[in-house]
Symmetry: C2
DNA sequence: CATCAACCCTCCAGCCATAGGAGGGTCGAG
DNA sequence: CTCGACCCTCCTATGGCTGGAGGGTTGATG
C-alpha cells in the first residue's frame, strides 16, 4: 500500500479521519471515560496510538462506538452488547441468535415495566388518600408502617 | 382474628420477643447482610447487644425493618427511605411533605417506565423484521450498526 | 523559542444496593 | 465436651458510570 509517496498536495486520503478520544467521544456520544473503560474491559479492542501515546480512532472504531451507543440506549447490558458485537462481526451468524437475544431483552424490559407499574399503582393509591396538608395524619406513612 | 389472648401458659409478655439478626431477617424479609449494612450507614440506629455481642431486635426494631422492606419494595431509594423514616418518627410532620416525596417518586417511576417502553417499542419493531432463521441477514444488527 | 490552554495519559476512589467469603466467636442440644 | 447453627467483623466484587490527582503532549499564540 503506497503511502503517499510524492504527496503532491498533502492529505490525499479524505475519509481516513483519525480522531483523538475526545473526537471519538463527541462523534459517538460516549464519554471519554467510558470509551477508555470499554477498552479496559475488552468490549472494544485496543486502538492505535500516536507517537505521543494518544489513542486514535478511525472510521471503523467510530462505527463500533456508535453501535455500542445505540445498543446502550436500547437498554442492553454491556455483556449483551458484547454478544451483539460478536454477532455483528460474524458473517456466518444465524439471525435467529440475534433475535433470541433481543426477544430475551424485551422480556426483561417487560418484567421491569411490570414491576415499576405495580409500584406506581400502589403508590398512587396510597397518595390518593393523603390530604397533603399541614396535619400529620397520612395513609402513606400508615401503609408503609403496616397500619 | 383473635390470637389466643390469655394463653395462660407462661409468657406473660407476648409481644416482647427479642430476636437475633437471623430472626429479624426472616421476620422482615431483609437479609442479614442488609440489616447490618443499614445499621452501618445509619439507616437504622444501633440495636442492643447480648453479652456475646449478638445484635438483638425488639418489636420496634422489627417494625422499622418492615417499614424499610415495604418502602424498598415500592422502589424508594435508601435515601428516600431515610426521609420517610424521619417523617414517620416526626409526630409534627406535615402530610404534605410525605405526599410530595411520594409524588416525586411516582414521577420518577413514570419516566423510567416511559424510557423502558420506548426501548421496548424500538426493539419490537426491529425484531419484527428479523426472520430469525439460519441466515445472517438481520435488520436488528443493521439497525444497531446504523445501516 | 517560550508559554499556555486544551487536550491526553494512567491510576485510584466513590456511587448504589447487594452478595459472597474468610477467619473467628457464641450458643444450645446431645 | 463436641458439634452444628448461628453470629461477629472486615474485605471483595458486581454494573456502569463519574470524579479527581498528578502528570505528559499538542499546537496556537506572543
Amino acid at each position: 500500500m503506497r503511502i503517499a509517496t510524492h504527496v503532491s498536495k498533502e492529505r490525499p486520503k479524505p475519509a481516513a479521519t483519525a480522531l483523538n478520544i475526545g473526537g471519538a467521544a463527541s462523534r459517538s456520544g460516549i464519554s471519554v471515560k467510558m470509551i477508555r473503560y470499554y477498552e479496559a474491559i475488552g468490549l472494544i479492542s485496543k486502538v492505535g496510538r500516536t507517537a505521543g501515546n494518544y489513542r486514535t480512532y478511525d472510521d471503523g472504531d467510530i462505527n463500533r462506538l456508535e453501535f455500542i451507543k445505540r445498543a446502550r440506549t436500547l437498554g442492553f447490558s454491556l455483556d449483551e452488547i458484547r454478544r451483539l458485537l460478536s454477532l455483528w462481526d460474524d458473517d456466518g451468524r444465524n439471525s435467529a441468535d440475534v433475535k433470541a437475544l433481543v426477544l430475551a431483552h424485551i422480556a426483561e424490559l417487560d418484567s421491569r415495566i411490570a414491576a415499576l407499574k405495580s409500584m406506581r399503582g400502589t403508590l398512587r393509591h396510597l397518595a390518593e388518600g393523603c390530604d397533603g396538608d399541614n396535619r400529620p395524619d397520612c395513609p402513606i406513612i400508615d401503609g408503609l408502617a403496616g397500619v
